[in-house]
């Protein structure tokens, strides 16, 4: 392989489509006779519908149908979660919408209005009157927290761990900290609200969908509507942001399909922004305890990390909140526990680094506080406790470069300039603070089916149902294929986002790029082999007798001997060569389990944050950032840096402003809008210096480790630690708003 494109900051291949408005998203496909749907949401958290008055809505101009549990055709109920049917992993909730009079959360869709225009649908949705019999509901996380029960773990996601006697070691430690942290619920807030355009033709369904999980979504919809999977064509070439929120199948998708079936019209259901909050889950809130004990020199003797999070009676799952505490620090005594409460709210769901993003906030804040107690530099404390092997079980790290990340980061950021005394650094009215924290996220892969086709004209087509949620999915796979086959990038086309293509992995767990890369590499290897075999059949080929040629210049060469693929195919009278790779869940699972027994694989990094805190108002501004990451091989410097920056930006939101407010009486999210739930804006984000160490991970395809989530881990702590340095105040309750800092 001649490395020509991998590692280069190649411009995105879909850049022109995205900057000219040509890229079409799920709500942007027109059909003759297209109808529009709007949802009616429940206004109670738990109970039964006793009456529906839809007369006014039905009589409103332009209304085609009002579907409620009284008249809607029933979908099949959702199946139970099972590892034998992986599509059950993406079930949003267990509610069979419009087939029941039961209400399970405040905001559950209880009726759908279908109308000739979006305005008519929305207006009529407001005319539907629903009467409820209300039942007592448990919606207040803080109040329910004492009733938490242990989270069930499994081999891939353990929920507890013990090594030695951590409580005893903590009690005996020369220096210790014992902190309680709270983090609020978060919502993804992809700028594209979830949207579905559903078109039935007999028992065949075309679905324009905004999804991170084409294959599993298709399976799930097929099961719910009793049609074969092959009858459903899911198109999702562009997804306007996901962050986990478009990973599962939520009400909007199912109800658009149901409405289209019931009205025999193509139906578009584009959720309102509030509709996204009410029908798509978000990140769980948490309370966490992190207690650390150390000897007087700073060596850890005890690490305790426990968490309480929430799921819902209708679904959701436990998150890996204490996961980083298994891997970051050497300690002879470790105790980890994850617990859950079940609430009458919508299911929680994965949101960028589920568990790890809030878990690292607590762990890395506590490490900083321990450094303060010890009077030690926080980087020095971390390096002193940097493990040679995985602390829990002594497994080897496939790759670990945290030391290098801190060294490089300290230099780039100017850590030396930091005066460790809290409140000592000032710039006029601003208190200046600098903080660090580690980033850590496990590496993950799923099976991916890929075909690669080499045409007689030299053109290459890579086909895989990948999801373009902003990661440059087609661009990076094109770079990989171009290098593997030794062809110009311009000659590679990557087809993605369509269920007719070979099945791609779900875009989750930072695993899409590595998963697809493994199969693209294998298919390209097969293609080179086929091309060589084909060439060597002919006595006229310069490749006759050549055993191991290099792919370059659009063909295969050994030294000066060789020829182009076009010449090989032309001589053989072949139109194209094609190779397939991937699939095979059993083989894949076996390899995953084998790998996990041997290695601990992860992306990691070091965050350096500078904040300025207004000494009068307590306003916190992030003024500088450096992030140095070990994410293995960098395929595309541009897209990788952008994704890591994106994680940091979302982390700045987590640290300073983001919080979904659930009314503890009614269970309603009361700030369900972008005006009231504050995501970072341009003015909140400084220049973010991102550097990747760019050393391949020997156990990953091409040495690459996913970058989608590691960026957000540790960010909350880096900000909190910088605020601690600026003000002397440790904020243990996110977000760090000014009321928690005043008076200064």
């Amino acid at each position: 392989m001649s490395i020509k494109y991998v590692g280069r900051p190649v411009d995105r291949l879909d850049g022109r489509d995205k900057t000219t408005g040509r890229a079409r998203f799920a709500a942007e496909h027109d059909y003759p006779d297209l109808a529009h749907a709007a949802l009616v949401h429940s206004t109670i958290a738990r109970g039964r519908i006793t009456a529906v008055d839809a007369d006014a809505a039905r009589a409103a101009k332009g209304v085609i149908e009002v579907l409620t549990h009284e008249n809607a055709p029933a979908m099949k109920p959702p199946p139970s979660r099972s590892l034998l049917n992986l599509s059950t992993m993406v079930i949003g909730t267990s509610v069979n919408y419009l087939a029941t009079d039961e209400v399970h959360w405040n905001g559950q869709p209880v009726a759908v209005v279908v109308a000739e225009s979006p305005e008519a649908a929305r207006h009529a949705a407001g005319l539907v009157r629903i009467t409820y019999e209300e039942l007592p509901a448990v919606v207040d996380f803080a109040a329910e927290e004492p009733n938490a029960t242990p989270q069930k773990g499994n081999a891939l996601m353990p929920a507890a761990a013990d090594k030695g006697d951590a409580e005893a070691a903590l009690a005996a430690a020369a220096v210790s900290v014992d902190l309680r942290f709270t983090t609020p619920p978060h919502n993804h807030n992809a700028i594209e609200p979830h949207a579905t355009t559903a078109v039935w033709d007999g028992d065949r369904l075309t679905l324009h969908e905004s999804t991170q999980s084409i294959t599993w979504l298709r399976s799930h919809v097929a099961q719910r509507f009793g049609v074969p999977e092959q009858n459903i064509h899911v198109l999702s070439p562009y997804v306007g942001g996901g962050f986990g929120g478009k990973g599962s199948v939520w009400a909007g998708t199912l109800l658009a399909v149901l409405a289209a079936r019931a009205t025999k019209r193509p139906v578009r259901l584009a959720l309102t922004r509030a509709g996204v909050y009410h029908t798509v889950g978000g990140r769980t809130p948490s309370t966490q305890r992190v207690a650390l004990g150390a000897d007087s020199g700073g060596k850890l003797t005890a690490l305790i990390h426990t968490s309480v999070a929430r799921t819902a009676r209708v679904g959701g799952g436990g998150e890996q909140i204490t996961s980083a505490s298994r891997h970051l620090y050497d300690s002879p005594n470790i105790r980890l526990r994850q617990s859950l409460v079940q609430l009458d709210l919508i299911s929680n769901t994965f949101m960028r680094a589920p568990g790890e993003s809030i878990g690292t906030y607590a762990l890395e804040s506590a490490m900083d506080e321990l450094a303060c107690e010890l009077g030690m530099d926080p980087i020095e404390l971390r390096m002193l406790n940097e493990p040679a092997r995985n602390p829990m079980d002594g497994k080897r790290f496939a790759h670990r470069m945290l030391r290098e990340a801190y060294e490089v980061g300290a230099e780039r950021f100017g850590w030396r300039e930091r005066d460790p005394r809290p409140g000592s650094m000032r710039d006029g009215r601003w208190l200046v603070g600098m903080g660090v924290a580690s980033a850590y996220h496990p590496a993950f892969q799923l099976p991916a089916s890929v075909t690669v086709r080499l045409g007689a004209d030299g053109g290459v087509v890579v086909r895989c149902g990948l999801h373009e949620i902003g990661v440059g999915a087609a661009t990076v796979q094109a770079q990989i294929a171009a290098d593997e086959l030794g062809v110009p990038l311009e000659s590679v086309r990557v087809e993605i986002g369509d269920s007719e293509l070979p099945a791609g992995p779900m875009a989750g767990g930072s695993g899409q790029t590595a998963s697809a890369a493994a199969s693209v590499l294998e298919a390209c290897r097969k293609l080179r082999r086929s091309a060589l075999d084909l060439a060597r059949k002919s006595p006229d080929s310069p490749l006759r007798g050549v055993r191991d040629p290099q792919a370059r210049d659009g063909g295969l060469y050994q030294g000066s001997r060789g020829e182009t693929y076009a010449a090989i195919l032309a001589r053989a009278g072949r139109d194209h060569l094609e190779a397939a790779a991937g699939g095979g869940m059993l083989r894949f699972m076996a390899k995953t389990v084998r790998d996990r027994r041997r290695w601990v694989k992860a992306a990691s990094g070091a965050h350096f944050c500078e904040v300025r805190v207004d000494r009068d108002t307590g306003e916190v501004r992030v003024s500088r950032w450096t992030g140095v990451f070990d994410v293995g091989t960098v395929i595309n410097e541009k897209t990788v840096a952008s994704q890591l920056r994106g994680g940091i930006v979302m982390g700045i939101g987590l640290a300073l402003s983001e919080e979904a407010l659930v009314d503890p009486r009614s269970g309603r999210i009361v700030n369900a809008s972008l005006a009231d739930y504050h995501v970072p804006v341009h003015a909140d984000v400084p220049r973010i210096d991102v550097h990747c160490l760019d050393e391949p991970d020997p156990t990953m395809p091409l040495g690459l480790v996913g970058v989608g989530e590691v960026g957000i881990t540790g960010v909350g702590a880096a900000v909190a630690n910088a605020v601690r340095h600026a003000t002397g105040k440790r904020v243990t309750d996110l977000p760090i708003t000014l009321d928690k800092l005043l008076p200064l």
Partner: protein
């Protein structure tokens, strides 16, 4: 229904719509111009930004009927000349000023109009003066803060805008 004519991207279009249809819905649903995006439908995200007589507005907060006599420019019409691209579009690609692409139309339209506003001497919260205002990073950030990007491509967007501003500088 109200019949109205509107100049959109240099072409006069006729619309027959109810008076409550927003300019954004008129463009997307009635004229097939889906470049302007709907992110919140309440003026909080800026994804729907278009130009009305060269001034940036949130099309979701505007009623189409109010804009009958205005020249509307969407991302589809922002390029100079047939088949071309606007320097801002090229700069966004070069500097990776987007990821998913959903806020991008609005960011680009907003950036183009923002540079015009700045050139016309419009002040901002960053610089409390009406004198000639230097287009610093903070100045651009402040003026672009009505356009949210959840992918967090803000650094790339800033670089793209600076690049174009430098090209346009006399």
């Amino acid at each position: 229904m109200t019949e109205l004519r509107m100049r959109v991207n240099g072409v006069t279009r006729t619309l027959d719509i109810e008076p409550w249809v927003s300019l954004l819905d008129a463009l997307r649903d009635h004229l097939g111009l889906t470049g302007p995006k709907k992110g919140c439908d309440q003026g909080a995200c800026g994804a729907c930004t278009v130009l009305a007589d060269g001034v940036r507005i949130n099309a979701c907060l505007a009623l189409a009927v109010q804009y009958a006599d205005k020249e509307i420019t969407t991302i589809e019409g922002i390029a100079k000349g047939e088949d071309g691209t606007h320097p801002m579009q090229e700069a966004f690609v070069r500097h990776d000023g987007f990821q998913c692409g959903y806020c991008t139309s609005g960011q680009i339209c907003s950036a183009v109009a923002m540079l015009t506003e700045h050139a016309a001497g419009m002040p901002s919260a960053v610089t409390p003066t009406t004198d000639r205002i230097e287009l610093t990073d903070d100045e651009i950030r402040e003026r672009m803060s009505g356009n949210l990007c959840r992918c967090g491509a803000y650094n790339g967007i800033l670089d793209a805008i600076k690049d174009v501003a430098a090209q346009e500088a006399p």
